[in-house]
Amino acid sequence: MAAKTSKKKEFRVLSTTAILGYGFPESSFRAGLAKKPDLIGADAGSTDPGPYYLGAGKSFTDRSAVKRDLRFMLTAGVRRGIPVVIGTAGGSGARPHVDWCEAIIREIAAEEKLSFKMGVIYADVPKARVRKHLRKGEIVPLTYVPPLTEAVLDESVNIVCQMGVEPIQKALAAGCQVVLAGRSYDPAVFASLPIMLGFDPGLAIHMGKILECAAIAATPGSGADCAFGTLTGDSFVLEALNPARRFTKLSTAAHTLYEKTDPYHLPGPGGELDLTGCSFTELPGGRVEVRGSRHVETERYWVKLEGVRRVGYRTIAVAGTRDPIMIREIDGILAGVEAQVHDLLKAERVEGRIFFHVYGKNGVMGALEPEKRVHTHELGIVIEAVGPTQAAADSVCSLTRSTLLHYGYPGRISTAGNLALPFSPSDAKMGEVFEFSVYHLMPLARPDGFPLRVVTFRGGKEPK
C-alpha cells in the first residue's frame, strides 16, 4: 500500500457497475484494466428497492450475478495488486448482507486459489447507542421524517449507518487488498484511497458520487457497464470504457441532479459537497473534466442511520375486469367489499388491512393522481392484504378476492363473476412486510470506529 506521502500526480479508478450484481461487459472491464487503475470499486447498495431487503437481511441482486461480477474484480485486483473496494455489501449493508457477500468472496478465493488480505467492516449500530443519543436529543430527523421515539427504536431491526471514508481508509492502511464494507456513503468506496493519498476530498468525493453509478452518467447511460475516472490535483476526468458510450457535459451534469434533493449541496458523513463553484468541460474522446467541487466539513461529524420495522405479512391476488358498468362503479364497489370483509373478519377476530391497486385508474400514482376520470375498457386490480401473520394475510386476501368476485353492485348485469383471474392458485404469499422507521442523523465521535475484521487467504484458504 502506498504511503500517505505519495507523490502520485493522478489517481485512476475503475468503477465496474452501478450495483454489484448488475453486471458489465467483459470488454469494458478489460479496457479499464488496460488503463492501469489504482483502485477497482463497486457500490453494492441502495435504499431505493424499498425497506424489505434491509429488514429481511436479503440482497435485492442475484447471488450468481454478484459472484460473476466479484470474480472479475477479485481475480484482476488480487493478481495485479490493485485494491478492490466494495461498499454497502449485500445491497443494504447490515451484518447478514455483509456475511452473505463474504461467503461469496470465500467461494471465489477458494475456486481461484487467491492469496490476499481482506478487511470486513460492519456498519450496524446497536440500539443502546441510538437510545443514548436519543435521550440526549442528538438524533435528528431528516426532512419529512418523524422524530424518532424509543418505541419505534425498539421495533426497528437491522439499524445501520452510512460510513464515510475513514473506516475504509483504516482497512486499507492495515494492508487490506480487498475491503468489504457494510452500509457506506456511496462515494466513500471510490474516495477513501485517493483522499488518504492526499488528493482533494471535494474532487475525490464528487468523482465517487458519479462513479458509484458507473456508466449511468454517460450517454447513452447504463447501470450495467464500467466507467473510468482520473483524479488529479485540481480536477477529475470521466470516460466511458465502451465505444458505444461517452461522457458529455450534459450527461455528467444531469447525473449530478439525479436522486438528490439539491444538486448544489450534497450532504454526506462529516460534511457536505458544495458544487456551487463546479464546472464541467468536454474533452476530446468523449471525456468530461470537472473542476471546483468542494468538501465542507460540518462542525460535528454526523452520519445517517437507516432502519426498518416489520409491520406484518402480505398476500396478494391479481385480477382484471372488462365490464363497463363495474368500471363505472369501481370506487363504490371496492369500498363496499372492504367494509363487508372487515365485518366478517371482525366476527372471526382476524386482523388485517386491505389495499386495492387499481391499474387503469390510479394504480401508479395513488394519492398523487390528478386525473379523476377513468376512460378505459378494462381495469387491473391487485388485491393486497397485510396481516399480523401470514395466515391472517392469507385469510384477508382470500375473503376479499371471493367477496369482490361475487359482489352485487348497483346496475350489475353480469352475475356469473366480476373478475378475470389469470392464475390458479389466485393468491400469492409475499412474506414479511417492512417499512422505514429510522432515517435520522446521529453524531459520531470516532468516524473510523467501525468494527473491522481482517481475514487472510493463502492460495484460497484461510490459514489457522
Binding site: L257, V364, M365, G366
Partner: protein
Amino acid sequence: MKRNILTAARVIRSKNSGPYELTLDILFKDREHFELFRRRNVVTKRRVAALYGRPVADILKIVYFEPSNALKITMRRPIPSGAAGETDIYGAQQHAPLLRLTY
C-alpha cells in the same frame, strides 16, 4: 398562445431522493428555455402543488441547476417508500402531471 412544456424540455423524470422525498427533474433543451423558465418563474411551488393536488407545504424546493440547464423540484412523498399503500417504490413514474405544464 401557451406552449406545452414538451416544446422546452428534453427530459422530465421522477425518482426518490431517499425514502421520504420525491424529486422531479426537468432538463431543458437549451440554455434559452432554461433562462426563460427561470426569468418568468414559470414553475412555482404553488403551481406544482396544484398539479399534484398536494398542499404547498409539501413542495420542499425548486432549484435551477445551470450546468445541466435543469430545474429540480423536490416534494414530500405521500408516504415513505414501501409503507402501507405504496404504489411506486422507486418513485420513477410520478412525473406525468408535469407534462401538463404550459408557459
